[in-house]
């Protein structure tokens, strides 16, 4: 467990960067700044400053033309982070029955904040319950079954996640896909990757624009909307990234909204 201590020396986002670089190198044998920015969905500027800090820590080295290399120490650290990430994710999924996608996200934050001590206990506990006697096993199965059933109805963990990331107001906002054909709404936020967001902006999907859902394609997927006097079709994947204003905006978060009729 001694190596684990190293984790936490650098800030969490830098650890994530290390992880990304490590995975990129595994995948394509090199990592360019541009790939890192794409992968983490952040700006080149942030990548650049992160790389500078990592280089100061002696964890990465710059090669030519924007290619980033891991030092030995950097690689060890990245591997540690990754191992933690994987363990935590497996633990959440197989023991606590947390849905895979959420577990993946949570693992990404736990891996940075958890003390080596807790990590160690988690490992032992995992070993314990998987090797212990019959009795506990059956109780434990009941517990898990309970959660498995809960999940089928509606997953409660989702909400916590929205709240953390996007603030309370948008946590339960309607999406474009929630509209019925013929209904209109006002765009509030766009919650999508860089690339898709820019594309939507270019097509005029911006906050405070009125959009009308015209129809859903017969096979159920792309939808057709009307905005700014023209018709646009989008897949539900992209459309669900468009959050709508509530009909009665009451949140204190944006007081300017009340000016809007």
């Amino acid at each position: 467990m001694a190596e684990v201590n190293k984790v936490g020396v650098i800030s969490e986002s830098l650890e994530d960067y290390l992880e990304t670089i490590y995975l990129l190198i595994q995948k394509q044998r090199f990592a360019r700044m541009k790939d890192i920015a794409d992968d983490r969905n952040v700006s080149m500027a942030s990548v650049n400053s992160a790389m500078k800090r990592l280089a100061k820590e002696g964890l990465v080295e710059h090669a030519s033309r924007g290619i980033v290399l891991l030092t030995n120490e950097g690689e060890n650290l990245a591997r540690m982070v990754l191992r933690r990430h994987e363990f935590v994710r497996d633990f959440l999924v197989s023991v606590l029955r947390v849905p895979e996608a959420i577990a993946e996200k949570d693992a990404c934050s736990f891996e940075h904040f958890m003390s080596p001590e807790t990590f160690h206990r988690m490992v032992t506990f995992f070993e314990f319950i998987t090797t212990c006697g019959m009795d506990i096993q059956t109780h434990f199965d009941d517990y898990r079954k309970h959660y498995d059933n809960l999940e089928a109805r509606d997953n409660p963990c989702n909400h916590m996640h929205c709240r953390n990331r996007f603030g309370a107001h948008w946590a339960h906002a309607r999406r474009l896909t929630d509209l019925k054909p013929g209904e209109s709404g006002i765009v509030g936020r766009i919650r999508a990757s860089h690339r898709i967001r820019q594309r939507l902006i270019d097509m005029g999907v911006l906050p405070h624009v009125e959009v009308t859902l015209l129809r859903v394609a017969p096979l159920g997927d792309p939808i057709e909307i009307k905005l700014r006097g023209y018709n646009l079709s989008l897949r539900k994947d992209e459309a669900s990234a468009i959050l709508l204003h509530d009909d009665t905006p009451e949140s204190p978060e944006t007081d300017t909204e009340s000016a809007h009729e």
Binding site: M33, A45, N48, S49, M203, G204, P207, R215, P222, Y230
Partner: protein, 774 residues
């Protein structure tokens, strides 16, 4: 906090030009610069997809650019020149773009062209019936500091809606000349030429100034960028704030790049803090805010609410939840019906015309290798392709009609769900449909697919769409092996099988070779428009010409090559002649072969002839000639290759003859039939007859021979399967290689499909024989 920064005020203010003050410089006095005109004026047409750039281009230079009521028709830049009052105007038609980001290939192409090629005048074509969104791009073009002439196109639609715009006001606000046009009728073209010439050399260009934090931050970044990028610094600064990877990448080698990055990050943070949203949204908001303010300002009379919206009405039926799919199926059915039913009579004319030509050559020339090359090689080979021209032309006419009305975009909309399952974009559907006509133009049509991996996948699976050239194979094989009431269902299932295979191959490719993020499906649905006859005919001609060119070049070349391979090395003395001369038949194998040929050639002859001892007695000159051909084939390079590859085709149930015929199919699928005919030692005239009609007795002849040679219908199925899946033709491979940008893709397509075809056919044959043996 500056109020003009919060997004809502941008969209809801009504004062004139509130957010994005453009220095209104007006039109530069034309007389002042008229004397200094360069001899060649370079003009680029830029604008949103489907705004009528290509239509305008065609009217300007009398060109023949592809036009369609479907966003993203033009995918490569296209140039043309005219003389105008002593100077040469060189126009470039650019692909349609919505913005100037680096997220799509067209936008990068357009952006680079505008910066690196520095055209003298940029004609920004605007769909006036959709002003707001089109002006968004105009603002960006102004950001680039270009010499713009704005064209308000589609004014007919605007007038029909009862709208009136104040064009002068627009011109003053934007600081550049504005011309109204109707590209489809040529209205305003003359004036546009005049204005363009006047605008050339204009140095007093309007500039875009942003207000508020955005303006401050841009101003702060500009000195850091100055001189480090080919783009104007103001534009580059804005792009950096939008986190444009390409602009950043270009400056990467700069020693101060890291510092610039930090500064950009600081600016982004400041903007975000002030406005509450990201800088990209703030920028989008500013531009759209300006556009919508401008629209309100210049609209003298708005849309009359009473005008019925035809597009909405059509769409309620055509994309209706229940009706759309039947309607779509009906459209497809009609397309194929027109293609095949109306196409048959002209096909027969061409066929008899070709027969006349070859007869003429046969009579006119002495019996030399040259005559053989002309008749058996060139006329047979190229003719086999040209015969399908009527079908192809009609199919392309239907597709052009669907494209020009705007229904194609709806097809993409309706079918996207299915295509999404294959990991493809709705747009891939259209090339796949064209693939039923001919794979070559279909592969060219994949250019509208923006995402490269999706495009490559589509190209790879396209040969599985059973093209028109494979039809003669089916028409020959199916009646030869199956009773009449099976014909249609079998033909139908072949097409379906191709589609099903394409589906799985696409999924497989997207999971392995072309893994990666899907292109976001964000597609404009244009209003329906009535296509002009002229336009549809022109489209039809474009694509048919492509097909004809394939016949004229690749097929011609391969016909000659194949003829050579069939006729060389030449056999000097034929065994059959020796035998006939001797009057004896020591070679029992040859005897048997002669017998079977006689039998096959004369279906009426009794089976007992096989037992006859002295067949040579009965041989006619024609039959002896046929035997000579067979011997020659055996002796030729093709025959030798056929024997060499026999072990490879054995598992599929084929013998060397079928294998050899498939060698021909590589040049063009339809050559399989004539190869098969030659190999089964039948006169050429008979083969031609098969391709034309179902009922001619000569057509049945080859079928009877086939049946005699291969009594097992399983072989028929295997031939069809292999013809469907394997060995995409030469032209397909060549065009794939060209369009994909590397020959490796052509090789991959060919070998991948051939291996797949071999596997499927082998499995079917082996299982089939196993079941038959039970």
């Amino acid at each position: 906090m500056n109020p003009s920064l919060s997004p809502e005020t941008n969209n809801h203010r009504t004062e004139a030009n509130p957010d994005l003050p453009l220095e209104s410089v007006g039109i530069a006095p034309s007389t002042a610069v008229a004397s200094a005109k360069p001899a060649v004026i370079r003009i680029a047409l830029a604008g949103n997809p489907n705004s009528g750039k290509s239509s305008l281009f065609n009217k300007l230079i009398g060109g023949n650019q592809h036009v369609g009521n479907y966003p993203g028709v033009t995918v490569e830049k296209y140039q043309g020149c005219i003389r105008y009052h002593g100077s040469v105007l060189e126009f470039t038609d650019l692909p349609g773009i919505y913005s100037l980001t680096s997220y799509s290939q067209e936008e990068i192409v357009a952006r680079r062209f505008l910066i690196h090629d520095r055209p003298d005048v940029i004609v920004n074509v605007i769909d006036a019936s959709n002003l707001e969104r089109n002006l968004y791009l105009t603002v960006q073009l102004l950001e680039m500091g270009l010499n713009l002439v704005v064209v308000l196109n589609m004014m007919d639609e605007v007038r029909k809606k009862g709208m009136v715009f104040d064009t002068d006001m627009l011109s003053r606000r934007l600081g550049c000349p504005v011309v109204e046009t109707v590209a489809s009728h040529g209205e305003g073209i003359h004036r546009l030429k005049q204005v363009v010439v006047e605008a050339c050399g204009n140095t007093d260009l309007p500039r875009v100034n942003y207000t508020g934090v955005l303006g401050e931050e841009v101003a702060r970044l500009v000195p850091l960028i100055q001189g480090k990028t080919p783009y104007p610094p103001g534009f580059a600064a804005v792009k950096l704030l939008e986190d444009d990877r390409e602009v950043a990448e270009e400056m990467h080698s700069d020693p101060l790049f890291a510092r610039l990055c930090d500064e950009v990050a600081v600016s982004m943070q400041r903007i975000e803090k002030e406005s509450g949203t990201g800088s990209a949204i703030v920028l989008g908001d500013k531009r759209y805010g300006f556009a919508s303010g401008l629209v309100r300002e210049i609209t003298i009379r708005d849309k009359e609410e009473t005008v019925r919206n035809m597009t909405e009405t059509i769409d309620t039926i055509v994309t209706h939840r229940l009706l759309s799919l039947p309607f779509f199926a009906l459209t497809m059915y009609l397309t194929f019906w027109i293609t095949f039913t109306l196409g048959t009579p002209p096909m027969e004319w061409i066929d008899s015309g070709l027969a006349l030509v070859s007869q003429f050559v046969l009579n006119a020339l002495p019996d030399t290798w040259l005559r053989s090359l002309l008749v058996d090689g060139i006329i047979a080979g190229v003719g086999g392709v040209i015969v399908f021209l009527p079908n192809i032309v009609l199919l392309f006419m239907c597709i052009a009609f669907l494209e020009d009305t705007g229904y194609m975009a709806r097809i993409a909309f309706i079918m996207d769900r299915v295509m999404h399952h294959m990991g493809l974009h709705g747009r891939s559907f259209i090339p796949l449909m064209i693939g039923f006509g001919c794979t070559v133009p279909a592969i060219m049509a994949t250019r509208t697919i923006r995402d490269r991996r999706g495009r490559l996948t589509t190209m790879m699976i396209l040969p599985l769409m059973s093209c028109g050239a494979r039809l003669p194979i089916y028409l020959m094989i199916i009646p030869a092996f199956f009773p009449k009431n099976w014909h249609a269902p079998i033909l139908w299932s072949i097409y379906l099988l191709g589609v099903a295979l394409a589906f799985f191959v696409a999924i497989f490719l997207r999971k392995t070779l072309f893994r990666g993020e899907n292109e976001p499906f964000v597609m404009e649905l244009p209003p329906y428009r009535m296509p002009t006859v002229n336009m549809v005919l022109r489209h039809m001609w474009d694509r048919s010409w492509m097909y004809l060119r394939k016949a004229g070049t690749i097929i011609l070349g391969f016909s000659i090559l194949l003829w050579f391979l069939l006729n060389f090395p030449q056999k000097k003395t034929y065994d059959v002649d020796t035998l006939v001369a001797q009057g004896t038949h020591p070679d029992l194998r040859l005897q048997a072969r002669v017998l079977s040929l006689i039998n096959a050639g004369q279906p009426a002859a009794s089976q007992s002839a096989v037992a006859s001892d002295e067949p040579s007695r009965n041989l006619t000159d024609g039959q002896i000639e046929n035997i000579r051909r067979l011997e020659q084939l055996n002796h030729s390079i093709t025959g030798r290759i056929g024997h060499v590859i026999e072990p490879l085709v054995r598992p599929m149930g084929f013998d060397w003859k079928i294998g050899t015929a498939f060698l021909g199919a590589f040049a063009a699928k339809e050559l399989f039939v004539s190869q098969m005919g030659i190999i089964l030692a039948l006169g050429n005239n008979d083969i031609d007859a098969i391709t034309s009609a179902d009922s001619t007795p000569s057509g049945t002849l080859l079928r009877i021979i086939l049946q005699r040679n291969y009594p097992n219908p399983l072989i028929g199925i295997c031939i069809i399967l292999f013809a469907l899946i394997a060995t995409p033709c030469m032209a397909t491979v060549a065009i794939t290689a060209r369009e994909a940008g590397h020959w490796i893709w052509g090789v991959l397509q060919w070998s991948g499909l051939t291996v797949l075809g071999w596997l499927v056919t082998t499995i079917v044959y082996q299982i089939g024989t196993f079941i038959q043996s039970l």
